[in-house]
């Protein structure tokens, strides 16, 4: 289905290993040095694979009734959390096939999970509320009800929690939950990413635009012209480039100089169906994009946002998530058929 005619991975991508899980592979991540890849599926299965061979380390079914919605790997890389339609969060040790702790968050779906960068707090959103927990699973604080269901959460490097929903982005103090800042805009914000320095908040909006604010000045801008809603967003580690999905093209905005306001973005055009996920490899301008077409494309970008494809592969169905191994020498793709595909990266 892809515009790329690929029987096997090309460019910098080399065959690695592959495995399958029972249902739509909805979320995953690498452990500390890539010793293991953990994956959760839409039916509620959680799996750990040996990072080098792909052999199954352990698997557990029916962890969340109704299915898993989110997963977050702890920054130390040895633990992770899952959240699901059952209104619960489970805390896991990567080495063990049984959840160490279960947290009842609410009666509604728990859609979003995120660990603070220092690993001290876990945030989980459930309907209009966000709650934070210590690493021991004890609740730290909970927010007031937001005006609508929270669609995305993220931590800033300064230890604040950001939430996005219809009409606003709000910031809360990590330890007390005190509201710090509210950025408003009338639109349905479907995705959110913070720049590594925490100053820029970028959100994809239902009306096929990307809206962003600079927190220091509260100035905001809107980038429109997308052919679909930008649900995939990624900043590189240096905060130079913001890659955005939304339609078949990847649009890359450069924050170099006075940009991106008044500049033209880089446009990466190879997918034939909408882009679903984007990820930068650590400390590089190397981006990977995945789409509904099942194509996975690695791009080498320049600081102006333009770039070229340097590797590509195809999986069986819609690409759900892409994860670079922390050292950038392997790449994992999760797909809608439950496929888990890992390539070595030259």
């Amino acid at each position: 289905m892809s515009g790329l005619n690929l029987d096997r991975p090309t460019g910098i991508l080399r065959p690695g290993w592959s495995a399958t899980v029972d249902d739509y592979a909805i979320a995953g991540g690498w452990t500390r040095r890539g010793e293991a890849l953990v994956v959760a599926d839409a039916a509620g299965g959680v799996y750990a694979f040996n990072g080098k061979s792909g052999a199954s380390a352990w698997a557990r079914q029916e962890t969340h009734e109704g299915g898993v919605l989110a997963m977050a790997i702890h920054p130390d890389g040895t633990a992770f959390a899952t959240a699901g339609q059952d209104g619960r969060v489970l805390l896991w040790d990567v080495a063990k096939d049984q959840a160490q702790q279960a947290i009842d968050v609410g009666t509604a779906w728990v859609d979003n999970l995120a660990w603070s960068p220092d690993g001290q707090w876990l945030a989980a959103s459930c309907a209009r509320q966000v709650r934070t927990y210590g690493a021991d699973g004890r609740e730290a604080w909970r927010s007031d009800d937001h005006p609508s269901t929270i669609s995305a959460i993220a931590w800033s490097p300064a230890g604040e929690l950001a939430t996005a929903c219809y009409g606003q982005v709000a910031f809360f103090d990590a330890s007390t939950g005190e509201p710090r800042q509210k950025l408003q805009w009338k639109g349905s914000l479907v995705s959110m990413v913070l720049s590594p320095d925490g100053d820029v908040v970028a959100c994809g909006s239902q009306d096929n635009s990307v809206h962003f604010w600079r927190r220091s000045t509260e100035q905001d801008s809107m980038m429109s012209g997308y052919s679909g809603k930008p649900s995939a967003l990624a900043f590189d580690d240096a905060g130079t480039l913001l890659a955005t999905g939304g339609g078949e093209r990847v649009t890359v905005w450069s924050f170099q100089g006075g940009g991106p306001e008044g500049t033209l973005p880089g446009v990466l055009d190879l997918h034939v169906e909408p882009v679903t996920t984007l990820a930068f490899a650590r400390r590089t301008l190397r981006l990977v994009s995945g789409g509904r077409d099942g194509a996975v494309v690695v791009w080498s970008l320049r600081s102006d946002g333009e770039g070229d494809p340097i590797g590509a592969a195809v999986v069986r169905d819609v690409v759900a998530e892409l994860h670079w191994r922390p050292d950038g020498r392997a790449l994992a793709a999760l797909d809608a058929q439950g496929g888990v595909t890992v390539w070595r990266v030259r």
């Binding site: 289905m1 029972d22 249902d23 739509y24 909805i26 839409a42 039916a43 109704g66 299915g67 919605l69 339609q85 009666t107 509604a108 779906w109 859609d111 309907a127 209009r128 609508s148 269901t149 669609s151 219809y166 805009w185 009338k186 639109g187 349905s188 909006s205 239902q206 009306d207 635009s209 809107m222 679909g228 809603k229 909408p274 099942g294 069986r316 169905d317 809608a336 439950g338």
Partner: protein, 448 residues
């Protein structure tokens, strides 16, 4: 990659107390073999027995451009987006709205969001109406009017609380507002499940099959009789009837097949638009003229027709022959039977602001002109046009085009080939304060 079939979705609307939850439970118990997901926005009057029930807050998302037609239901996008990820997908999704919901954003969600559109198809909008209270509700709230206007099926519920005459009156009023919908009566939402599910209601063929007359144009006359007459003087005799006068056009050389009747009907519409010439009892009726027979004197009244050469006359009368016991007699006083008679869908008084307009014409449409006309119509009146459905014949296309829309959004797709069947256009608009004449003219100007 496999091409997944779309999961049908039905929307259940209706005021609190109209019986939505009763109907939901009925569907779930009768369709227990299927995987049905129910998305609920309020606590029902009774609990839901089975099936996967997802409570979601009704979240209306407007867009920054302020266009109401771009307003969608955020909760549905989120919930449906996740449901479609399961491999053992659902067979059916039911969305129950709150009593005060505007059905627009719910329906628009299935047009506006690409991912939802790819995985789900809107099967139909089912509106439950509490027969005992709807009249008051229609007077007081825009929401209940819109729920009626958007419906593919109107379930007239709690009929045991209202007498038959009132029900007939209510049904006529609802049909007037929404000629596209099928009306089903029930006592405790006990309607057959197949009247509300798998309607494929956005498929016009189905609609036509169910209600073949819904596209019939309305005429200012109700009845036509065709008489074959030899030369002579004829008496048209009428008894007392419901009105003190009756309009009539007598068409010469009238054919007896349906096409000929329709053709004359069209020309009579133009005649009827002209001022009528009043005719008193005892006077002669001119042929080919819009006349108004005065019937205010008591007892039978006679009017006369003079025929020079053998001819078939078509009488296009404002009321049916039955209503005035209309009879045509020759000079000897013998009653002459009409060769053919037929009735027409009569125009009604439009009490409600919300109503339906049906346009039906033969011939091909110029796609460029049609686009321009429709574009302008929807830009200017999209807010007031709730639903539209139809199929059209585009010049140079061998296939029929089906289209449907909600407010400003519309979808058009090639359908089956025309083959030998006559190429025609059929369209229905349901909306508020629509100007039928200008819409009809605008559409006809798009014909090649």
């Amino acid at each position: 990659m496999n091409i997944p079939s779309k999961v049908p979705v039905s929307i259940l609307t209706g005021f609190l107390g109209s019986g939505k939850t009763t109907l939901l439970n009925r569907i779930l118990s009768e369709e227990h073999g299927k995987r049905i997901a129910v998305i609920e926005n309020e606590f029902g009057e009774v609990g839901i027995d089975q099936g996967l029930v997802i409570d979601a807050d009704e979240e209306i998302f407007e867009m920054s451009n302020g266009c109401i037609c771009c307003t969608v239901r955020g909760d549905l996008i989120r919930v449906l987006g996740n449901l479609m990820k399961r491999r053992d997908k659902f067979d059916y999704v039911l969305v129950e709205t709150t009593g005060l919901a505007d059905p627009g954003p719910v329906a628009q969600t299935f047009f506006m969001d690409d991912e939802i559109r790819e995985e789900f198809s809107l099967d139909g909008i089912v509106t439950l109406v509490d027969a005992a209270h709807i009249e008051q509700q229609l007077g007081r709230s825009d929401e209940s009017t819109e729920q009626v206007a958007f419906a593919d099926v109107l379930v007239l519920n709690k009929t045991d609380l209202v007498d038959d005459e009132a029900l007939d009156r209510l049904e006529a009023r609802l049909r007037e507002m929404n000629r596209m919908a099928q009306v089903v009566r029930s006592e405790r939402a006990d309607v057959p499940v197949d009247t509300v599910l798998n309607l494929d209601a956005f498929n016009l063929d189905e609609v036509l099959e169910r209600r073949p007359t819904f596209l019939e144009p309305e005429y200012p006359f109700e009845w036509t009789g065709v008489y074959a007459l030899d030369p002579g003087r004829f008496e048209l005799s009428l008894a007392d009837g419901p009105d003190p006068a009756m309009s009539l056009v007598v068409v010469p050389d009238q054919g007896t097949d349906d096409a000929a009747l329709r053709e004359s009907a069209e020309s009579c519409v133009r005649q009827y638009a002209e001022p009528a010439q009043p005719i008193d009892p005892g006077e002669e009726i001119p042929v080919g003229t819009h006349v108004n027979l005065r019937l205010d004197s008591p007892g039978r009244k006679s009017f006369f027709l003079d025929v020079d050469t053998p001819v078939r006359l078509g009488l296009y009368a404002q009321h049916t022959a039955e209503e005035f016991d209309l009879q045509l007699k020759n000079a000897e006083g013998a009653t002459i039977r009409q060769e053919v008679e037929r009735t027409w869908v009569a125009q009604h008084e439009h009490d409600d602001e919300v109503g339906s307009i049906a346009i039906e014409t033969d011939g091909d449409l110029d796609p460029i002109r049609l686009n321009a006309w429709l574009g302008e119509l929807l830009r200017e009146r999209g807010v007031d046009i709730f639903r539209m459905k139809g199929f059209i014949s585009l010049a140079g296309e061998s296939q029929r085009y089906v289209f449907q829309g909600v407010h400003m959004l519309f979808d058009s797709q090639p359908d089956r080939p025309w083959g030998d069947s006559p190429r025609r256009n059929q369209l229905v608009f349901i909306g508020r304060n629509l100007d039928e004449q200008s819409m009809r003219q605008g559409f006809e100007a798009c014909l090649v």
